[in-house]
């Protein structure tokens, strides 16, 4: 393994890291408006990707339909989670929401295991052309496709948040729920829609993870949950630019550790990276001084 290989590993990691960014943004969005963590988010994103497989596998639709179906299904699951784990639990009991979303995580995982008999399912690649060569480095075509789709999803999200009335409402609720309500925004509707938006984004992430790994297995949801949460912490809870940068960082670091050591050890170092951040910058990369909590 020479220097070139390590740089190559970092490039691959950066491309795949966009999926972590998306998962991190999802956690952060929900945290922003509700000040609660939705632990089942990554599992819901992958469950959405599984739902997308129903199209080609059971209904005989063409393979590309898997992507839109995954995204729509994940959005619907997002709203379902809002109804079951957030809507009717009092805001003042954070433990209850935490437990209910962990329960939902276990439930979603079990539904997936139950309906696929625990077997990994093949997932189509988003684009399989020839890899792009730049000097002595290669950009893998499938990862490049994943990267472009994820960046597009982020652009749509940012446009939605900063250019539309819905985005304005979401940001208002995140800043001051009471004031937002006084201005005539319906809190429950905005919260519900935020879950749908986060869900749709998770659907993109789930589909892209499936597309770049080539298959979906129930074993993926645990590590993705942990890494999504790590991305959220490193980026700073509630910060979208933080989640984007941290996702790329975690993706690159993970692939570099894999090249330096091996695949079974790499996640240990990613966890250690989190602890380094907790000690040195507990508020995350982009936290405001007030948010350091």
């Amino acid at each position: 393994m020479g220097f070139v290989d390590y740089v190559q590993a970092v490039i691959d990691g950066l491309l795949f890291g966009t999926t972590y960014s998306l998962i991190g943004i999802g956690f952060t969005l929900v945290f922003g408006v509700m000040h609660k963590i939705n632990m089942s988010y990554a599992a819901a994103s992958l469950a959405g990707a599984y739902c997308g497989l129903v199209g080609p596998q059971l209904l005989g639709l063409p393979a590309w339909t898997v992507f839109p179906l995954s995204i729509i299904a994940a959005g619907a699951i997002g709203y379902f989670i809002y109804l079951t784990c957030f809507r009717f639990i009092p805001l003042a009991s954070p433990l209850a929401t935490l437990m209910s979303t962990v329960g939902m995580l276990l439930l979603l995982d079990e539904i997936v295991v139950h309906s696929t008999a625990g077997m990994p399912q093949n997932y189509p690649a988003i684009y399989d052309g020839d890899p792009v060569e730049i000097g002595s480095f290669i950009l893998r075509a499938d990862l490049l496709g994943v990267f472009l789709v994820c960046v597009a999803a982020m652009a749509v999200l940012l446009a939605l948040l900063y250019r539309t009335r819905l985005g304005l409402a979401t940001r208002a609720v995140a800043q001051q729920p009471v004031a937002a309500q006084l201005c005539g925004m319906r809190l429950q509707a905005v919260n519900g829609l935020t879950f749908v938006i986060a869900g749709l984004l998770g659907g993109v992430a789930g589909a892209m993870i499936g597309a770049s790994v080539g298959m979906l297995s129930p074993l993926i949801s645990g590590p993705i949950t942990v890494k999504g949460l790590i991305v959220t912490v490193i980026g700073g809870l509630g910060s979208i630019p933080g989640a984007i940068v941290a996702g790329l960082l975690v993706g690159a670091a993970e692939n570099l550790f894999q090249a330096l050591r091996n695949v079974t050890e790499r996640d240990i170092y990613v966890m250690l990276l989190l602890f380094v951040f907790l000690v040195l910058r507990p508020g995350g990369l982009f936290a405001t001084a007030r948010g350091r909590d």
Binding site: L95, S100, M104, H114, G222, V233, F275, L278
Partner: protein, 301 residues
């Protein structure tokens, strides 16, 4: 009959796991690291009895101390952050411990077989109980003696000044700080005690199953650890014990006839329970009602 003895042992070490999270939850901190301390206890105790040939009791104490030291070390950086950040930090720590044991090889030759932990294959031959001729009934008594000791100690802590300090931190950190309580010291102490209890539980678990591997100590186990006290309510150690008996005795064993559907039900049940009773199955009001039912008012209501 052996089945029920064995079930009582399972309930025993799960109670220890739940109690280890109970004391940390008293300070208002949610930890998903208990499965990690449980794993450390299991591996350390197993290695001491199998590889070093120790008696179980000193091995358990050393295993508990090892887990406690680890908990203390993790406590300091992790407790710089609060609330949800701590959940994430402890979750990551638990996974890091699991992955460490996934990569951990330490085998020595004994006769013509090699024994000791071997990475993904796990750690076999932890046969201290059968080698010393303990019957299932005796093991059950031993496990419950440990549980009674720990639960008794926690019950006493609940009533002591230290217990009041723990709850003060849990109820309102700012108010606790302004009456001169050192938040970090209290939280790290609770974490350390929790680590010790989880280590004890893990060492019993290792000797109960005789074969441990990294996959036993996953997020699900960490979830179980905090689910027991939260389901049982944080008012009393008995809530945790009731919750363990309910989950392990009824949900896991009692519903075995449902096969795979049992696991589905478990997640759905947590979601339903939290919607219907957000403060735990036995919350403050229920605890008072129960106390009145048994004819004695609780001193602190």
């Amino acid at each position: 009959m052996d089945f029920y003895y064995s079930l009582a042992q399972i309930i025993g070490f799960h109670t220890l796991l739940g109690l280890s999270a109970y004391i940390v939850l008293q300070t208002g901190q949610v930890t998903l690291a208990q499965a990690g301390f449980f794993a450390i206890g299991a591996y350390v105790a197993g290695m001491l009895t199998v590889l070093a040939g120790w008696h179980l009791v000193p091995a358990m104490i050393v295993a508990g101390l090892a887990a406690a030291i680890m908990a203390c070390l993790v406590g300091f950086p992790a407790l710089r952050v609060r609330g949800l950040m701590l959940v994430i930090a402890t979750l990551a720590f638990g996974e890091a411990v699991r992955l460490f044991f996934f990569n951990f090889d330490y085998q020595i030759a004994k006769g013509d077989v090699k024994i000791g932990p071997l990475g993904g294959e796990g750690f076999r031959q932890i046969r201290w109980f059968p080698e010393n001729g303990w019957t299932s009934f005796e093991i059950m008594l031993f496990v419950w003696a440990v549980v009674a000791l720990v639960a008794g100690a926690l019950w006493w802590i609940d009533r002591s000044r230290f217990g009041a300090v723990l709850r003060a931190v849990g109820e309102d950190e700012l108010a606790a700080q302004s009456v001169g309580i050192n938040l970090t010291a209290v939280k790290v102490t609770a974490m350390t005690i929790g680590g010790f209890i989880a280590g004890l539980g893990g060492s019993i678990y290792a000797h109960y199953t005789t074969h441990i591997e990294h996959a036993n100590f996953n997020v699900l186990l960490a979830t179980f650890a905090i689910a027991y006290p939260i389901l049982g309510g944080l008012r009393s150690v008995f809530g945790t014990i009731v919750a363990v008996i309910f989950v392990q005795g009824f949900l896991v064993e009692g519903l075995r006839f449902m096969g795979d559907w049992r696991n589905l039900l478990f997640g759905a049940l947590i979601v339903a329970a939290m919607n219907l009773r957000p403060h735990g199955l036995i919350d403050a009001a229920t605890a008072r009602r129960l106390a009145r039912l048994f004819g004695r008012e609780q001193r602190r209501a």
